[in-house]
């Protein structure tokens, strides 16, 4: 491009030379550019036809959580590790007569897990819940396509017990506790007021206070 401020100082031949060199430059650079684009016409495309072809994920990818309930002992450690509180666990103590079996790495199960919900809408995929698990039953899978139209659908429940079973377990425990308390009361000549009050609350078959239960369970687990 000719600079008009300098034009007066240029001689005619210089102006002419610049003019011609501009034309030459324009054509040569356009041809260079066209050569480049023509070469790229035959470069294989980098596009991946996504739903048909999927790239291999990296080795330690973090996607949707999964809980293997066969191995879960209901220790609540994952729920407490979670920085966004997206895991909700509720457990009911098993009766001494019941045998829940053992986990795959030999831990004895002592609790019925009556609720194990993970709200994946809240989950931040930090994997902090995976490390504390003593039985390695909560882990990251390679599933990443699980979008939903309703946010409620992202609340995943992993429990294996049916609702009837849950009520049954709770009732069993309540009955057992009541019996135990009655025995204790019978054994002790003078039962204190407070101890009498507790069983009365617990005899109600429906939702027993989970907080109470949890703390008991986890304490037991730690021992």
């Amino acid at each position: 491009m000719t600079d008009f401020r300098n034009l007066q100082y240029l001689t005619l031949t210089e102006t002419m030379r610049e003019y011609l060199s501009n034309i030459w430059k324009a054509f040569s650079t356009i041809l260079i550019g066209m050569k480049v684009t023509f070469k790229h016409l035959f470069v294989p495309a980098v596009t991946i036809q996504y739903p048909d072809i999927k790239l291999d994920l990296p080795e330690r990818e973090r996607n949707r959580l999964y809980v293997n309930m066969d191995d879960c002992i209901g220790c609540d450690q994952c729920a407490r590790a979670c920085p966004v509180d997206c895991i909700t666990i509720e457990t009911v103590k098993a009766l001494p007569t019941e045998d829940l079996g053992k986990t795959s790495n030999g831990k004895k199960k002592a609790l019925w897990v009556t609720q194990f919900d993970i709200d994946l809408a809240k989950c931040c995929y930090c994997q902090l819940c995976v490390f504390p698990c003593p039985t390695e039953c909560i882990y990251m899978t390679n599933v990443y396509e699980f979008s939903e139209y309703q946010r409620e659908n992202l609340l995943y429940s992993y429990i294996t017990l049916t609702p009837e079973e849950i009520i049954e377990k709770k009732n069993n425990l309540a009955k057992f506790e009541a019996e135990k308390a009655a025995k204790k009361a019978a054994a002790e000549v003078k039962p204190p007021e407070k101890k009498m009050a507790e069983p009365v609350v617990k005899t109600s078959p429906l939702p027993n206070p989970p907080v109470n239960n949890k703390t008991n369970d986890t304490q037991k687990e730690k021992q």
Binding site: M1, T2, N22, I23, I30, G33, M34, V36, T37, F38, H40, L41, F42, V43, P44, A45, V46, T47, Q49
Partner: protein, 357 residues
């Protein structure tokens, strides 16, 4: 020839005329636009190491058809503040302007919409209708981007018409005819009879003419590129600055009319360039029909050559589009007024001297 045949078939002058006028539209323009839009996307994609449309049909070749169906279904939005009459006329005018050019372009030796002696002059004149339509669309949209785009487009098309005209004048001076069919017939035989190689006559002047004709060809190619608003001269519809220029406010079928006109224009311009300089529908080396003594095969072959040349130049336009960045307004005007026009003038003078001698 086609007209006579249609006249015999239908027995009505009006009917045969109507059918004849619709032939280029349905036989050439519409299929070309459908293919060209797909090609444009594929070429751009592969130049950028992408794949482009791949879903609809084999390598997405039905994508344009799907898009067309979508455009037909779409709501025709006319904004409240627009000038309704002009807004509705504009796309029709733009398409009419670009389609009217096909009337004087000989598709084969057997088909020419209208064999008028002012062929190329008519094409140049009727292309002016496109500018009117674009300006109308920009003004009627009542939108600053549309108006800016339309004004830029008008300025650009009018400035670049000058070098185009000068180069057309060079060809007209040598051949002494404005009729595109006569022009094409003159370039018959082999490719050294094409205008870019100095025309049909053989002598010392032919060799002097060759470099001048190549310069002329380059000038007309660049300036027609600007006339159809293609990159690097696409400031009228610069997506990154003006939304999409004069057709920002249009939707549905009216938008697709602009789109159709744009691609029809691309082909028309390529066809004119090839008719002027590269023999139009003429084959570069004899015909298979002559060899096999099948006279009916020749027009079909010629049509093939015509479409082939047109599509080749359209592909080069696409190639340039995906290579070059957009020019600034001052650069655009500088290219036209400081480079193309003086060179075209000099070319015209020299060719004029040669033809006189």
């Amino acid at each position: 020839m086609i007209y006579d045949y249609l006249y015999k078939l239908t027995g009505s002058e009006i009917l045969s005329m109507l059918i004849q006028s619709a032939i280029p539209l349905f036989l050439l323009v519409l299929p070309f636009v459908l293919v060209a839009v797909w090609l444009e996307r594929k070429v751009s994609a592969h130049m950028q190491d992408r794949l482009g449309p791949m879903r609809v049909g084999w390598h997405g070749w039905l994508q344009t058809v799907a898009d067309l169906v979508k455009l037909i279904q779409k709501e025709d939005i006319v904004a409240k503040e627009t000038d309704k009459v002009l807004f509705n006329i504009a796309p029709v005018l733009v398409f009419a302007g670009s389609y009217a050019a096909f009337a004087a372009i000989p598709l084969t030796s057997a088909f020419l919409g209208s064999n008028i002696d002012l062929g190329i002059f008519f094409i140049v004149a009727v292309s002016g209708l496109v500018v009117t339509g674009i300006l109308m669309a920009g003004w009627a949209s009542n939108n600053k981007y549309s108006l800016l785009g339309a004004m830029r487009s008008a300025a650009q098309i009018i400035s670049y018409e000058i070098p185009t005209m000068l180069v057309i004048l060079i060809v007209v001076m040598i051949t002494g005819t404005l009729n595109l069919r006569t022009l094409s017939e003159m370039q018959t035989g082999y490719f050294w009879n094409w205008m870019i190689f100095g025309g049909p006559q053989f002598g010392i002047d032919k060799f002097i003419l060759i470099p001048l004709m190549i310069i002329g060809f380059l000038i007309i190619y660049i300036s027609t590129l600007a006339e159809v608003n293609r990159t690097p001269f696409d400031i009228p519809e610069a997506e990154s600055e003006l939304v999409s220029g004069y057709h920002t406010e249009y939707s549905g079928m009216k938008f697709s009319m602009f789109f159709l006109a744009e691609y029809a224009n691309m082909f028309a311009v390529s066809a004119i360039v090839s008719a002027l300089f590269l023999g139009g529908y003429q084959s570069p080396f004899g015909y298979l029909g002559n060899l096999l003594h099948l006279p009916w095969l020749i027009p079909i072959e010629q049509f093939g050559w015509f479409v082939g040349k047109g599509v080749f130049f359209v592909l080069v336009q696409m190639w340039l589009r995906w290579t070059l960045p957009r020019l600034r307004v001052d650069q655009l005007m500088a290219v036209c007024w400081k480079y193309l026009i003086p060179i075209a003038f000099a070319d015209l003078l020299i060719v004029g001297l040669i033809t006189v001698i």
